[in-house]
């Protein structure tokens, strides 16, 4: 099922002997982990478009959670960010952008605002939309942030969260947050780690919000360029992502909490935490590969001996997730699928209607297409990592090419692990097949 691949013209290495050799050769040729076909391109771009609009809500609400909700023990309205957050200007879109990635406006996407107002059911009070689940499901993005935290992802940031400096800033913010609540202050005194952990969680919410603030305009722009005809191959799309990643790599990662008109700096910009290392790489590792077992799933899979005893072995991320809502593992993909479903471009909706059960199983088809698109993002990250730490693909030195190959092989080895059924759960072989829908 795997396509025959072009080898780089400068190749000086013999063919690799590996179960995923074709994919390694494709990566060495500058390609992605999925075959470069028009249908794959249409699917991944369509999914980026469908993903980007909920993502525009996710990052705004995640910043709201990190900055305003913070450690609220009863955050009943945490999915109702204030108008300020919808008006918040994206730093990578609009006329005010630091670096303009998307040519569109900086405030919340018009399709998002329209959906928030009307949903599927029509114009109703937001609370009713919320209770009826006719809304953007923030639970998904919260799970992702928690997965990053659970796996202690975040490079130097994770270490910093255990530092005395962070603890002192966090305790100060916690005391300020509960200054009119003696009960909570007493609780904080008794169990100082309790709200500290909540503060760390809020920091990860903020980190993910900052990550997606970049990715949303990247996806908006890539979709527009595809519509205009300037993105013509999977490789083009991946290169756009790689270029985007490098362009933004140095963006500072920080966490500011706003309490009563005061700004509490938990993670200062001056610490030099960078978007690429503290948000992008950890996100891909935690979310695409590992994720966290969501509630109710761990015991289910433990009965089937599918849950690793070591946290580091937990591999049930987006790339591995079961697309079916029964007995699934990893991040609950159905919530995201439902969110993306509302914003599918017409060409992709038409495509899904022509296959399998059409509208009836569109969420499954959508999930599989999403998996393909995330394999492309993962490919972009692998190529970016290779570019950052290894050698160019057309390097004349065979030793350097071999170093690149060892890197790609090490990455592909992660998909063929026999432990806990990972080799079967991983869909990398499936997504090579155009008929896998």
């Amino acid at each position: 099922m795997v396509q025959a691949l072009e080898r780089p013209s400068s190749a000086k290495l013999p063919p690799v002997d590996h179960p995923l050799a074709d994919i390694i050769h494709r990566l060495e040729a500058g390609g992605a982990m999925i075959p470069d076909t028009p249908e794959n391109l249409m699917k991944i771009i369509g999914m980026y478009k469908a993903y980007s609009i909920p993502m525009d809500f996710y990052w705004r609400d995640l910043l709201y959670l990190g900055e305003r909700v913070f450690i609220d023990p009863f955050p009943f309205f945490k999915y109702f960010p204030t108008k300020d957050y919808f008006d918040l200007l994206n730093h990578y879109a609009g006329d005010t952008a630091d670096l303009r990635i998307w040519r569109g406006p900086a405030h919340a996407h018009p399709e998002l605002m329209e959906f928030i107002e009307k949903g599927e059911t029509g114009k109703l009070p937001r609370l009713l939309h919320h209770l009826w689940h006719d809304r953007i499901n923030m639970e998904f993005s919260e799970d992702l942030a928690r997965a990053m935290m659970w796996h202690r992802m975040g490079g130097q940031l994770d270490v910093y969260l255990d530092s005395d400096e962070y603890k002192a800033a966090a305790h100060k913010a916690i005391r300020a947050y509960f200054k009119r609540n003696p009960l909570m202050l007493a609780l904080h005194k008794l169990f100082p780690d309790l709200f500290l952990e909540q503060a760390r969680q809020a920091t990860y919410m903020n980190v993910l919000g900052l990550f997606w603030e970049v990715m949303a305009p990247v996806f908006f722009e890539i979709s527009d360029r595809y519509d205009e005809g300037s993105i013509r191959s999977v490789k083009d799309a991946m290169n756009f992502l790689v270029n985007g990643i490098f362009a933004i790599a140095g963006r500072p990662i920080y966490h500011h909490v706003y309490i009563d008109d005061e700004v509490h700096v938990l993670v200062p910009k001056e610490k030099g935490f960078m978007w690429l290392y503290e948000a992008a790489f950890p996100y891909v590792e935690a979310v695409f590969y590992r994720t966290a077992p969501f509630r109710g799933t761990k015991s289910y899979n433990a009965q089937a001996n599918q849950v690793p005893s070591e946290q580091v072995d937990f591999h049930y991320g987006i790339l591995f997730a079961d697309k079916f809502p029964v007995g699934t593992a990893g991040i609950p993909p159905t919530l995201l699928h439902q969110d993306m479903y509302h914003f599918l471009p017409q060409y992709l909706r038409d495509h899904f209607h022509q296959h399998c059960r059409g509208e009836d199983d569109i969420l499954v088809q959508l999930g599989i297409a999403f998996q393909r698109s995330m394999y492309t993002v993962t490919s972009a990250v692998l190529q970016a990592t290779r570019a950052a730490f290894y050698y160019p693909l057309d390097d004349p030195n065979p030793e350097h090419l071999m170093a690149n190959r060892r890197f790609f092989i090490a990455q592909m080895d992660r998909f063929i692990r026999p432990q806990y059924g990972i080799v079967d759960a991983c869909k990398i072989r499936n997504v090579q097949d155009p008929n896998y829908r």
Binding site: F324, C356, D361
Partner: protein, 499 residues
């Protein structure tokens, strides 16, 4: 005339199948089946529940020298079964058949006419005529629309049921000749005058003859092949109504004509019933093919009918008749759903099927109904299976406690194999590599939904199931001496022998 009409309508519709253009075949067949069902349902509504005797009688001398008369009539035993038969025929025709529809509809309608005729016949030779008439269409239905091993299954079915017919015919002829009856009309036969041994032989012929049709262990070996190899519509008719001709025959001709001898042999029959129940359940547990599993379950469930007939209390008689109807509905539903699964998934293998309850890619409605069908078959309260089985057990326990307890254990085993079936088929994770099943369309779901509705409604309102048969059951039971009476009747002769 109404009963004649009930036989003639499907027969005429079958004749029309040979001349109509193809586009009219299904509508006309459907209309014929619908009118037949409507008429039978109307007759049921007109049945006088207080009257134990025959109703809507028709009599026309046909060949008086042979004792063959065109004598028809129905009661609370036969008319519910007629309604069941016409209903299942309607569902089968509604479901349609794309391959050779002309012949298919024709054969189904002829079979329907034959079954109605057999259930309404009040002359023993007329019964045999109708009984044999339905044999040919069923043979052809298995042979032409069956699975890979259909030829073997069809021949086996033909041989077994032909032997069944011969045994029954032999018994009927002997009854007429030995009693010097003026005709073979049911009311003309005075069998009480025959020697007990002769009665026992004739009864044995009938039990074996009808036992093949039911079938009872060890006369059952044609059933798994026929049920499994037959197409879904044929399997529904085979299990849903044809097998009921066997139990009907036992009640009408064995219990009805040999009440005293029946009472004497009841203990043996109860043991056979218990053996059938346990064998059917254990064999079903061992199966890997879900259709074969359902087929074996049928053997077990027909054993309940025999157990109830053997116990011959009023309650057990009502239970036996209720079980016939209940089993007809449940088996039809199960076979229908298995047919959908086989069509959509392409296999009936337990080891391959998985996760069909998946709401997006699986067969969720089919699976949900399969769960309900399995629950009904296992006798879960609130469903029609419970009503029938509870009546059987309640009515039989006082007479045959051990066979009844074994039967109750058999019900437990039914739950075991249905849990195995449902767990492997409906639950678990659907594999996306194979889950490219076509969706089940509404017209395909409709027959299953109708059957489910009946199973539910009759489960919560059992009066609508049992009210028809209460009077006839009373009459049948009154004619059979109890075990105490039998012992009392033979005690003087035993004591004189000892003296």
């Amino acid at each position: 005339m109404l009963l004649t009409l009930l036989i003639l309508i499907p027969a005429l519709a079958a004749l029309l199948m040979s001349v109509l253009p193809e586009r009219l075949l299904r509508p006309v067949a459907l209309a014929g089946a619908a009118v037949t069902f409507g008429l039978s349902a109307w007759l049921l509504s007109q049945l006088d529940l207080q009257q134990a005797g025959l109703q809507f009688p028709e009599f026309t001398p046909w060949l008086p020298p042979l004792g063959l008369n065109y004598s028809l009539g129905v009661d609370g035993l036969s008319l519910p079964l007629i309604v069941l038969g016409t209903f299942l025929t309607l569902l089968v025709i509604f479901n349609g058949e794309k391959s050779s529809p002309r012949l298919f509809y024709g054969l189904v309608l002829v079979a329907n006419a034959g079954i109605i005729g057999a259930l309404a016949a009040q002359n023993l030779l007329l019964f045999v005529l109708f009984y044999e008439v339905e044999l040919v269409p069923f043979y052809l239905l298995i042979l032409m629309w069956g699975g890979q091993r259909r030829e073997r299954a069809a021949v086996k079915f033909l041989i077994y049921t032909a032997i069944s017919g011969i045994l029954i015919l032999a018994a009927f002829l002997a009854m007429g000749w030995l009693t010097h009856a003026p005709s073979f009309d049911y009311g003309d036969l005075q069998l009480a005058a025959l020697a007990p041994t002769t009665q026992a032989i004739l009864l044995a012929l009938l039990v074996i003859g009808f036992g093949i049709k039911i079938p009872l262990v060890p006369l059952h070996s044609w059933l798994p092949d026929a049920y499994v190899e037959a197409s879904t519509p044929t399997a529904i008719l085979l299990g849903g109504i044809l097998a009921k001709l066997g139990t009907y025959g036992l009640v009408r001709f064995a219990v009805g004509l040999f009440p005293e001898t029946w009472g004497s042999f009841a203990s043996v029959l109860a043991i056979v019933a218990a053996a059938s129940i346990l064998y059917g359940a254990l064999a079903a547990i061992a199966q890997k093919d879900i259709k074969r599993m359902v087929a074996y379950s049928s053997i077990g469930h027909m054993g309940y009918v025999l157990l109830a007939l053997a116990a011959h209390t009023h309650l057990s008689m009502v239970g036996a008749i209720a079980q016939m109807i209940s089993h007809g509905l449940i088996l039809a539903l199960l076979f229908y759903l298995v047919g959908i699964i086989e069509t959509k998934v392409g296999t009936r293998e337990l080891d391959v099927l998985n996760g069909l309850l998946n709401p997006l890619r699986g067969l969720p409605t089919t699976s949900a109904l399969l769960i309900l069908g399995g629950m009904a078959s296992a006798g879960i309260p609130g469903l029609v299976g419970f009503v029938a089985e509870f009546l059987v057990f309640q009515g039989s326990y006082a007479i045959f406690p051990i066979p009844t307890l074994l039967a109750v254990f058999g019900t437990g085993l039914t739950a075991v194999y249905f849990v195995i079936l449902l767990n492997r088929t409906c639950f678990g994770r659907l594999d996306n590599a194979t889950a490219y099943y076509p969706r089940v369309l509404w017209p395909e779901k409709l027959p299953a939904l109708v059957l489910t509705l009946l199973i539910l409604v009759l489960g919560v309102q059992p009066t609508w199931l049992v009210r028809w048969s209460e009077t006839i059951s009373q009459k049948l039971v009154a004619a059979i001496p109890t075990t105490t009476e039998i012992v009392a009747s033979i005690a003087p002769s035993l004591s004189s022998t000892h003296n």
